[in-house]
Symmetry: C3
Subunit: 325 residues, 3 copies
Amino acid sequence: MRNFTTVHDVPDLDKLLDKALKVKKDPFATSGLGKHRTLGMIFLNPSLRTRMSTQKAAQNLGMNVISMNIDQDGWALELNDGTPMNGKTVEHVREAAAVMGEYCDILAIRCFPNLKNKDEDYGEQILIKFMKYCKKPIISLESATLHPLQSMADLITIKEHSSTRKPKVVLSWAPHIKPLPQAVPNSFAEWMNRSDVEFVITHPEGYELHEDYVKHASVTHDQDAALKDADFVYVKNWSSFSDYGKILSKDESWLINNKKLELTNDAKVMHCLPVRRGIELSDEILDGPSSLVVHQAANRVFAAQTVLTEILEHNFNPNGTAKNF
Amino acid sequence: MRNFTTVHDVPDLDKLLDKALKVKKDPFATSGLGKHRTLGMIFLNPSLRTRMSTQKAAQNLGMNVISMNIDQDGWALELNDGTPMNGKTVEHVREAAAVMGEYCDILAIRCFPNLKNKDEDYGEQILIKFMKYCKKPIISLESATLHPLQSMADLITIKEHSSTRKPKVVLSWAPHIKPLPQAVPNSFAEWMNRSDVEFVITHPEGYELHEDYVKHASVTHDQDAALKDADFVYVKNWSSFSDYGKILSKDESWLINNKKLELTNDAKVMHCLPVRRGIELSDEILDGPSSLVVHQAANRVFAAQTVLTEILEHNFNPNGTAKNF
Amino acid sequence: MRNFTTVHDVPDLDKLLDKALKVKKDPFATSGLGKHRTLGMIFLNPSLRTRMSTQKAAQNLGMNVISMNIDQDGWALELNDGTPMNGKTVEHVREAAAVMGEYCDILAIRCFPNLKNKDEDYGEQILIKFMKYCKKPIISLESATLHPLQSMADLITIKEHSSTRKPKVVLSWAPHIKPLPQAVPNSFAEWMNRSDVEFVITHPEGYELHEDYVKHASVTHDQDAALKDADFVYVKNWSSFSDYGKILSKDESWLINNKKLELTNDAKVMHCLPVRRGIELSDEILDGPSSLVVHQAANRVFAAQTVLTEILEHNFNPNGTAKNF
């Protein structure tokens, strides 16, 4: 594995998950693997879980970590080629990425969509251009359209808490007061579609996700039907993809509470956090025995550590030299 | 010792101070104690001394450090239970604390009072809720009402510079242009009341501190009487507790200068910093031989390192597993 | 070497450069030199390359790094003596520097000019007062008037890419939309004047640099004449020194492109970055074979690591105690 920006970067998903469970059992077993290696974490957007869990993962491997906050105001990057930079952008991604690549062995990047221009967001220019110009392995810490470390942690959590061979997993839209990216649901769908689960997506009309991620999942506007016999319910808000970035519904009946859980097979409830209590999920669920949200967050460390381990093993020689740059 | 948020968390103060002096003599004697342990430092307010000294202390013990700035704007935490989060708060402390507790072995938190609502501030909800939900030892890096690492460093400094068995220590209010918290004087009073010193507090009328911290200290509005034969003068501004958060006086005659020091027993002068020169303390004192302010700041490292050592020794097994979580 | 704030701090430039090339060949050869030593990095201004490369350099030596952002708003430092601090400044540099000196073994500081008051900027009060009060070695991470780590990296780059014994090096002014400091050109001139090169400076009228830095360099307003037979062209904008901080020209004919390079001896083109493409330098040069800009940035690590090595070796005993504080 060279980069980690989508499930398609993973050659063997089962093997990666087995490795993650081994890493979780003994996080310091390979604490020398990252010696003299530097992880650069570039944040174009704020982050709490991602920042802390990825830094922890790198330190468990003995890596050095350099974090940089690049505000879109304070250090705006130019993405377009050939236009004179006489505006607000102060550095072109060609130079910025190349330089950071010189200082770091692996780069991890966080960038959000603006939710205004669909083509721009789904074009993932920041991520793609960093991959092109930095010449080092790239890890997505959430991009405009995907959040693979979250989805990997989610899948680890499902594995750990699943009692059936092929669980029914439901991704259920939830209301929110702000328009949120589609990155988490897109990504979760991608990973579920690669896993041996029965995968159902339910949301109000107008909230259809991009078909590339939905693929062969069942989609329904009938939440109750979706919840029936579910083993896992993944709750998440997202803004509309077709009417791009818009809030089309705040229908409170989509909020999952204990009553709705009765429809399920005693389902576990998941959310990537941060969660707005009483808006996206009821207090009774978050404080009750069916919630897995803290387990998911905890597994972010082991997802990141496993990905870093894979990249270190496949791209660097034990003596510290890079294999293929 | 499980948490460190007040002097009442310290079972044996003399023993803790002896340990601190030993740590100061050889700060790297136990540089492997914190191996594979992570200290999370959470800042809800800016910090210079506290941030640097605590990070230094943790690194002296071989710990990893993860720092997070949580602005009250950028990542506002919800503290109330049961209210739908349809406002500015983006994450409930229940989730935030639980997740940070998963990533870190010890959490250190900095949060200030707003000085508007006395009950809210003195309720210490942020600290208490982090303690409740994070499931890991908590260190206060200054809370709404107390600043125990500062007071511990102050007491170490007094020990080092005291030539008498039972020194006279005077906490003397000073003017300031802004309303400041009562955390430092409250905390200093708490620690002095546990120490073998003659403790006097002097301030203008209306600046009485909460009786829980004053306890059996002498209190007087006559600064000159208080200063008489003092061995240590701790200078500090605070806003009114009774007329909560208000500035009742800017009386310049409270500023300590060399003339006032003549009343004392050649007293050493202390301040927690930052200090406004010419407002809180005269230049002649800060630049003269009686000032201990840089010694106090230097001792912040050894206070923090001793507390971390105590918590590591009592809550984690040598093989790295937690003892009692 | 005790401090590193100008080329005049370097006793033997050739020796320093030889050391830098050795460090670059094997950056981890002395990875234990900085054990238990702490580098404090103080940023009064934002930084990307400097922050990342200096942190990397320190970590290569096994040092701990503590970074502090001191915004001029959030934590304004008082520089003047004797004035009551009843305004916006919250801490005097005397205390701030002394305290940081207690926490760190080496302090590295970044501060920019305001470009409004020439005497204030060229007085370098922040740097000078930190040196006076912190009692520890000081490294400039760019000051109001100089940027020695950049110049040292530039000189390493020239050494590596020079095929003649005494190359012709041209510093060529470039247009920009904002008024920029003179620190990089001043510093580059200082270092070139100490090196065995033919050094020419070219700029429009009114952009004369301070004579202390220009010294025995040839200066011309005729860019074409300057470029003739050049081996290296260092492109950089700066604002006027005489009409202090002003933009006097945006003359696009000063932009270096491939056509202009034909005048040179197949010159390599340099820039300290960030660069505004199409304004300061043409895309064709930045994307072509003559550009050294990423090499320069990469060498920032080895410049910083060599300086840290020198300071550690000359100021600290192997057992970890300071030699001369």
